[in-house]
Structure formats: structure tokens, C-alpha cells
């Protein structure tokens, strides 16, 4: 990264390979910029540690803490010896003002987050549990990159766990499993060990939009 950040050297912190930079659920209000090394973002789901992303020099993490006082939403671990710049709210603004490239990156990240959160909100406002789960699949399918044949064909495969789907749908895993069973018995969904298949995503689209319309009519 061609940025001169030497003025920020007093904020530098170094972590050894394998050490935890911060833990999921920990309170925190620092924002980090990677100078050298690599970190991985992990979350623990029951007995599995899932790596969500690996970040490189020039990338940053911990930005949500600048916005709200929620606990950290993931654990960050140094993959190799890593040098970070650690900012709090006060010096964060100084960093951004002096480094438009970083600010621009953050701006883009925020745009994406706002979009994603609005999409999540739409799902959660659905009252019908079937529609809510169907809409989760729609959301996931919107992020899939498909070739033309696959787009034609309404069949979609999702390598997403039931726990994740339950999380997006704002319900317990048990409730989510029951809801999926209903779709299975209607032959609209197949659940496999490692994946879930929606047989016709267009059918889900119609189902969700009619459910949304019905709800709006009832509300007004």
C-alpha cells in the first residue's frame, strides 16, 4: 500500500502468529489497520471454527465498534506476525482525514453493509415463517454468481448450515428445521448432509412476494 502512515507509528501494535487480537463477545472500541502480516476472522459455531475471511496489509477490521457499543461480532487471530495500527474514536478521524483512500474503502464497506442490513430487515419483517425462510434463500441466491444455464433453471444449491439460515431468519434452529421440513414435504426443498437444494427459486420469489403483498394489505 503506497500510503505513508509513519506519523501513526505510535499507534502500532504487534501480535505474534496465532495470538488473539480480539475475541468475539468482547467489548471493544478500537479500529485496526493492518500494516504487515495477515489476520483471519473466525467465528465459532458450536464445535466448528469457521474462517470467515483473511485480511491483508492495507485492510482494516473492528470498524463496527466505532459505530455502536455492541460486543465484537467475530474473533480476529494473527496468522503470522502482524503489525497493526490501533485507533480509537478520537484518532480515527485524524486517520480518515489524512487518508482519503482508506476513508473511501470504509465508505464502500458501509454502503454494502447498509444494503445487506436492509435486506435482512426485509426478511425479518415477514410474519409467515415459511416466507421468512424462503426469503433467506432468495437473499442468498442474490449473492450467487451463476452462468446462464443455471439462471434459466430455477434450481439452486446452498452450502449453508441450518443454523445460519435460522440466524438470518431470526428464529431458533429447531423452528427453522421444522419450517424446512414443511418445504421438504411439499417437495420444494431437499435437505442433504452438506447442502440444501431449492428446487425452483422462482417459485420462492412468487411465494415471498405474494406473502409480502398479503401482509401489506392486512396492515393497511
Amino acid at each position: 500500500m503506497a500510503l505513508d502512515l509513519s506519523v501513526f507509528n505510535r499507534f502500532a501494535v504487534t501480535f505474534k502468529a496465532g495470538s488473539v487480537i480480539f475475541c468475539e463477545y468482547e467489548p471493544g472500541d478500537s479500529f485496526y489497520l493492518i500494516q504487515s502480516g495477515k489476520v483471519k476472522i473466525v467465528k465459532i459455531f458450536g464445535d466448528i471454527e469457521k474462517t470467515i475471511d483473511i485480511l491483508q496489509p492495507g485492510e482494516f477490521f473492528g470498524e463496527m465498534a466505532l459505530l455502536e457499543e455492541a460486543p465484537r461480532s467475530a474473533t480476529i487471530i494473527a496468522v503470522e506476525e502482524t503489525k497493526l495500527l490501533e485507533f480509537n474514536r478520537e484518532n480515527f478521524e485524524i486517520l480518515m482525514q489524512g487518508n482519503p483512500q482508506i476513508a473511501l474503502k470504509l465508505l464502500k464497506l458501509f454502503s454494502k453493509r447498509i444494503y445487506d442490513q436492509k435486506r435482512r430487515f426485509q426478511i425479518l419483517t415477514l410474519e409467515d415463517v415459511l416466507a421468512r425462510v424462503a426469503d433467506v434463500f432468495l437473499m442468498l441466491s442474490e449473492g450467487q454468481v451463476l452462468d446462464e444455464d443455471e439462471i434459466e433453471d430455477g434450481r439452486r444449491e446452498f452450502y449453508t448450515s441450518i443454523d445460519d439460515i435460522a440466524h438470518w431468519a431470526g428464529m431458533s434452529p429447531d423452528e427453522c428445521r421444522k419450517t424446512l421440513d414443511q418445504f421438504v414435504s411439499q417437495r420444494r426443498v431437499e435437505v442433504f448432509e452438506n447442502k440444501i437444494v431449492v428446487k425452483n427459486i422462482n417459485d420462492f420469489k412468487r411465494f415471498v412476494s405474494s406473502s409480502r403483498n398479503k401482509q401489506e394489505k392486512a396492515d393497511s
Partner: protein, 319 residues
């Protein structure tokens, strides 16, 4: 495509809701309204774009569909930018970026709140249990370095938490196994397991006095664990280290826990003072004022803390 000025007649549309975002617009002259449905109430909303203001930015950045329809109210001129040109423009103008960052972060904060308000109760796992289970996962999988890291953090925030006995035992075991096995970074040069650093209270204090707060924090947490007699003092000093490290939220959490467990703590005034100062750090002026005011009534009359609190309250005005 270089930026170009486009004239729009009254009642025409710059883009419709659902159109994929490809350009960013600036209103040069005229009047434009952004019409959308409020996601919470479903009400139709109209936001007026000021001249000189950008619109369509979020959708253009991510090439997402627009959330709103941009309606031209009177004959207007709009400048259309490609995303690249817009970025070029921004990169030489950090004032605009800062302004947009603030707008976006406010929107993000609001939508986060809205999403959370709809999540079912069991979704909001309690943070204490969550932190414990992170340590537990690494402990079970024999990743002792990480288990020790996570459990040590648990001890900082929940010195009297539900799992404290177990956590203390497991820290001891993990520390003794540090760097021994099970870690997935075996390609890194193995550092010999450092001898378990036992700090005495005196050492912790002298580290603190030297100004090495990260190390002092560790030392006080360790002392609190190994010397029950020193626990109350060491825990308190650990909190001050957190504050010195400018970790506002952590400090608040730490002292709140201490006071919860010991409602008649003899350093209550000081604890409230640090909570107040931490709220100031995270820019929650109302809470800062509340805590500092309360601390002033409990702090000893001639302490530096009471003078500082008085000064801050005076600067805030209306205390």
C-alpha cells in the same frame, strides 16, 4: 465516460427504485426528491436533495438496485459521474468523504438497531457466556494459546462471572501448555514455552508506574487470580490500566462488574469517575455527566480525580 451535465424536465425520473446503480449524481440546479418507503413503517418518504449534494452513491458503489426513486420536481440540471470519476473526485477531497462517512454510519447504526429489534430473544446470546464458549472451544481443541488468550480476557471483563472458577483453572492449565501442541501455526518458529510469569503485587505496581500499561494490565489480572488477598486492589488497578489504554467500553464494563459485585466498594467514587471519563471517551456526554456528577459526591475532597471531574463538568456546562 467523463462527468456530464444532464437537463431534466419537471416530473421526469433520474432513476427508478430497483434500477441497478451505475452512476453517481450531483444536483447542480433545480429540485430532486428521493422517494422511498420507510422500511419500518411502510410510509412513503420524500427526501429533498440539496443543490451540490450527491445522490445514488450507495447503489453505485455496490452496483446494487436503488432503494429509492429520484424524481425531478422542477426543471433541473444534474451532473452524472461514473463511479471511477466520482472516486477520483473524492480522493482529493477528504471533507466530502468525512461528511458522507458520517451520513452512512448514521444510517448503518439505525438499520442495525432496527434489525436487532426484530431478532428473537435467544438470538442475542449473552456476551459473558459467548466469551466463555470461545475460550472453551479452543480449550477443548487443545489450542492452548488461544484458549489462554480468550480466558484471560474473560477474567478482565467478568472477574466475578459465572464461570470464573472453571476459567481460572483452565487458564492455569492452558498457560502451562502454551506453545506445546495443537496449535495450527506449527510452521512458525516454535518459541519455547515462556516460563509461567508469576507477578507479585509489587512488580505489577512498578510496571504500572513505568507506564507500560499493556503489561501492567496483564500483571494485575494475574495477581488478582493468584493472590486472593490482593484481588480487590489488583482488579481495580487493572481497570485503571484499561482506561489508560483508552479502551473506553472495556473500562466501563470492567468497573460496572466490580461495582455490581461489591456495591459498597471503598473506591466507589474513583470507579464512577473512571466510568464517567470512559463515557466521555466514547462520546456519550449524557452518561459521562451523570457518572462524573455522582463520583464528585463520593471522591475525597482534595483528590486529583475530584478536581478533574469538577473541571470537566464545568466545561460541559449546566451541571
Amino acid at each position: 465516460m467523463p462527468p456530464k451535465a444532464i437537463s431534466f424536465k419537471a416530473n421526469s425520473i433520474v432513476y427508478f427504485k430497483g434500477d441497478k446503480g451505475e452512476s453517481v449524481y450531483i444536483l447542480q440546479k433545480g429540485q430532486v426528491s428521493l422517494n422511498y418507503l420507510d422500511i419500518q413503517t411502510g410510509q412513503e418518504m420524500h427526501d429533498f436533495v440539496q443543490t451540490g449534494e450527491f445522490f445514488g452513491v450507495k447503489a453505485a458503489f455496490g452496483k446494487y438496485p436503488h432503494d429509492e426513486t429520484a424524481v425531478v420536481l422542477v426543471d433541473s440540471t444534474v451532473i452524472q459521474f461514473s463511479v471511477e470519476d466520482f472516486e477520483q473526485l473524492l480522493s482529493s477531497n477528504s471533507r466530502i468523504i468525512m461528511k458522507m462517512l458520517k451520513v452512512f454510519s448514521n444510517q448503518l447504526r439505525r438499520i442495525h438497531k432496527q434489525v436487532r429489534s426484530l431478532m428473537s430473544g435467544d438470538e442475542q446470546v449473552d456476551a459473558e457466556k459467548g466469551l466463555y464458549s470461545v475460550g472453551e472451544y479452543y480449550f477443548k481443541n487443545k489450542k492452548h494459546d488461544k484458549a489462554a488468550d480468550a480466558f484471560n480476557r474473560y477474567m478482565i471483563y467478568y472477574p466475578a462471572g459465572r464461570y470464573v472458577d472453571e476459567v481460572r483453572r483452565k487458564i492455569e492449565y492452558s498457560e502451562s501448555q502454551r506453545g506445546v501442541s495443537g496449535d495450527d501455526f506449527s510452521q512458525a518458529p516454535q518459541q519455547p514455552a515462556p516460563p509461567k510469569t508469576a507477578y507479585t503485587m509489587e512488580q505489577a505496581v512498578s510496571i504500572r508506574n513505568s507506564g507500560n500499561y499493556p503489561e501492567a494490565l496483564k500483571a494485575f489480572v494475574r495477581v488478582a487470580q493468584s493472590f486472593p488477598d490482593h484481588r480487590i486492589f489488583a482488579e481495580f488497578e487493572a481497570g485503571i490500566c484499561l482506561y489508560k489504554l483508552k479502551k473506553g467500553n472495556e473500562t466501563i464494563k470492567h468497573f460496572t462488574e466490580i461495582l455490581k459485585r461489591n456495591p459498597a466498594h471503598d473506591r466507589m467514587g474513583e470507579a464512577l469517575y473512571y466510568i464517567g471519563k470512559s463515557y466521555l471517551m466514547i462520546e456519550d456526554k449524557e452518561k459521562a455527566r451523570g457518572f462524573l456528577t455522582k463520583s464528585s459526591s463520593l471522591l475525597p475532597q482534595d483528590s486529583p480525580e475530584i478536581r478533574d471531574a469538577a473541571l470537566i463538568l464545568e466545561q460541559m456546562g449546566g451541571a
